[in-house]
Every structure is written in structure tokens, then in C-alpha cells.
């Protein structure tokens, strides 16, 4: 089990809970970046789940290079310092039934919470159709397992000008959240 340092946990948790999407960066075989915005859910161990077409570019790249960078922040912010969570992680395709059900249950809760799906019955149907993410289906579920987590550090000033940097939020094993 992975848990975040309690010092910055509240801020990190707030950012993760208040946002719907994360930006995932991947590095292709030529060593160049590719980016995608994804609706995400996460579990108590801060493992992030999303689903995507298996033929999408980011899914292709993850198959050969699991190294991903995630950023979660409110892109509608208007202030000088948007608080953000940055995560370095390894990403994998999810294939086991138990983990698909887990990911879909988290999805269902978030979709219900954001009123995208409005009934428990629809959520149940959504979860029961885990086969949509296996076999001949064009869709797959993916997970990202964090290795390092940062948040935006308080701005430093140099001659009254802001200089942004990141502060690492240490990962501990095992700890409770």
C-alpha cells in the first residue's frame, strides 16, 4: 500500500477530488512527447485508472514504454499560481476481471458524483459490462502506479519575481490514508 506524506496530503487530496481530468504525457519511440487529457479515477493506494481505445496513440506508446507523467490541476484557474499535482508513474493495461471491476466501480462512483450517470441501475450496468474492456473490444482499461508525487512548492521570489518549483510529496510503504 502506498500513502502520501500527511503534510501535503490534504492539498493533494483536494486537487485529486476536485478535478475530473488528468493530463498524461508519454514518450514515443523517437523520444518525443505525446499528450492526452483523460477522465480519471483513483483508489486508496493512489493508483490511477482510465479507459481508452487500445489503438489510441497514448495506449500504443504505453505498451512499449510504461513511463508516464501525470498532471492534475484546475485549468480554469485565473491566479498566478495554480496548485497542481504531478506524478511520475508506470502505466499498464488492466486485464484481470477483479481489477477491471475495481476500476469500473471507481468510475461509476465518479460518474454518479459528477451527474454524468444519474442512476445506480445505469452504474450497475456499466460495471457489469467489464467485458467491454477485454478480448475483441477496441477499449482497454489502464492503470498508472505512482513512483513519485510532487505538488507545486510555495513560490520563491527573486527580485520580486516569482520562481516556481515543485516539492516532492514522499511516498511511504506501508501507510494508511
Amino acid at each position: 500500500m502506498i500513502a502520501l506524506s500527511l503534510d501535503n496530503l490534504h492539498t493533494v487530496q483536494k486537487i485529486l477530488d476536485e478535478n475530473l481530468y488528468m493530463t498524461i504525457s508519454v514518450s514515443n519511440s523517437n523520444g518525443n512527447p505525446w499528450i492526452a487529457n483523460l477522465f480519471y479515477v483513483y483508489d486508496k493506494n493512489y493508483t490511477f485508472y482510465w479507459y481508452s481505445p487500445k489503438n489510441s496513440r497514448h495506449s500504443h506508446i504505453i505498451r512499449t514504454n510504461p513511463d508516464v507523467a501525470l498532471a492534475i490541476f484546475d485549468s480554469t484557474a485565473t491566479g498566478d499560481d495554480v496548485d497542481a499535482v504531478y506524478i511520475q508513474a508506470n502505466a499498464y493495461e488492466v486485464s484481470s476481471k477483479s481489477e477491471l471491476l475495481k476500476g469500473l466501480t471507481l468510475y461509476g462512483k465518479k460518474l454518479l458524483g459528477t451527474h454524468f450517470i444519474r442512476s445506480y441501475k445505469a452504474i450497475e450496468m456499466f460495471i457489469k459490462r467489464y467485458q467491454d474492456f477485454k478480448g475483441g473490444s477496441p477499449l482497454r482499461m489502464y492503470k498508472a502506479v505512482p513512483k513519485k508525487v510532487w505538488k507545486l512548492a510555495p513560490s520563491k521570489a527573486y527580485h520580486e519575481k516569482f520562481v516556481d518549483s515543485r516539492i516532492e510529496v514522499p511516498l511511504h510503504k506501508p501507510l494508511m490514508v
Partner: protein, 164 residues
Amino acid sequence: MKTNEYLAKEIIESMLYMNISTITPKGRPWNTPLIFAYDKHFNLYWLSWKKNQHSINVKNNPHVFATIYDSTVPTDTGFGVYLEGTAHEIKNLKETLQGLKCIYGRRNRIRRPLKEFMNKFPRRMYKFTPKRVWINGYGDVDSNYVDVRVELDMEELKQAIKEK
């Protein structure tokens, strides 16, 4: 009906932050939200500490992938813009001034002196020139929403950007 290029313009105009993806010298992906501005030719600018990881990355590999989108809207209701191009630190005085006008002008702020982005000062101006731009649309796979990307016509997008 608005074209995709005009939809993209609306998102670009309405967002203060974009997220850039760069690659570290060790080949790892890196993600950074930044305040940005743009000129009438659709060059994008930002100010960063030269020692930030993304600044080091851009120096090492100018390829940048960026996204401008609303992270708060429900699925299937919003549009995002994806931009692929190259970025570099501006060292030319004229270009720095142009970038400063865009950045401080966009937020109606008093422009800082040019010298504060050179020499011993920590921050630098960066310029990002997109080569390809997409907008996301929504597709349906077995009743599950999935993102698809539609490439925009750069000339039409630039024309839309020029129009006030």
C-alpha cells in the same frame, strides 16, 4: 455553425493555463501547467525559471506537445485543443519584447523590464510554435464515450486567432 477552428480559438482565448509535455534528457516524459499568451501568428509564449525541469528539457529536446482544455467540465461536454510543435528559449531582444507584450498584455498588467529576462536574472521567455493542432471530439464505442482527435487547418486557425 462554428467551425472547429473557431471552437479551438474560443478555448484558447478562455484559458489562462496550458499544459506542456516535454522529455527529460534521460528520455522520460514531463508535464507542466503554465500561464501562456499568444501572438497574432499563433506563436505561444511563457515565462519560466531557466532551471525548471521543463526549461532544461526544452533546451535538450525542443519537441513539445501541449494541451489547452477545461479540466472541470463533465465528460462529452467540453473541447480540448492539442498542439504539437517546437519551443525554444528566446534570446533575441525583439522577440523577447514581442513575447512580453503578449504575456503582460493578455492580463492587462504592467510589463516588466526586458533586462529581467536576461543575464543573471532567473526567468526566461520561451516561444512555442505549433506545427499541428487538433481538437477533441467524442466517439462512441459500445456505448462508452471515447475521445477522438480532429486535426485543424493551421491557416484557418491562424485566421480565426487574428480576428478579434
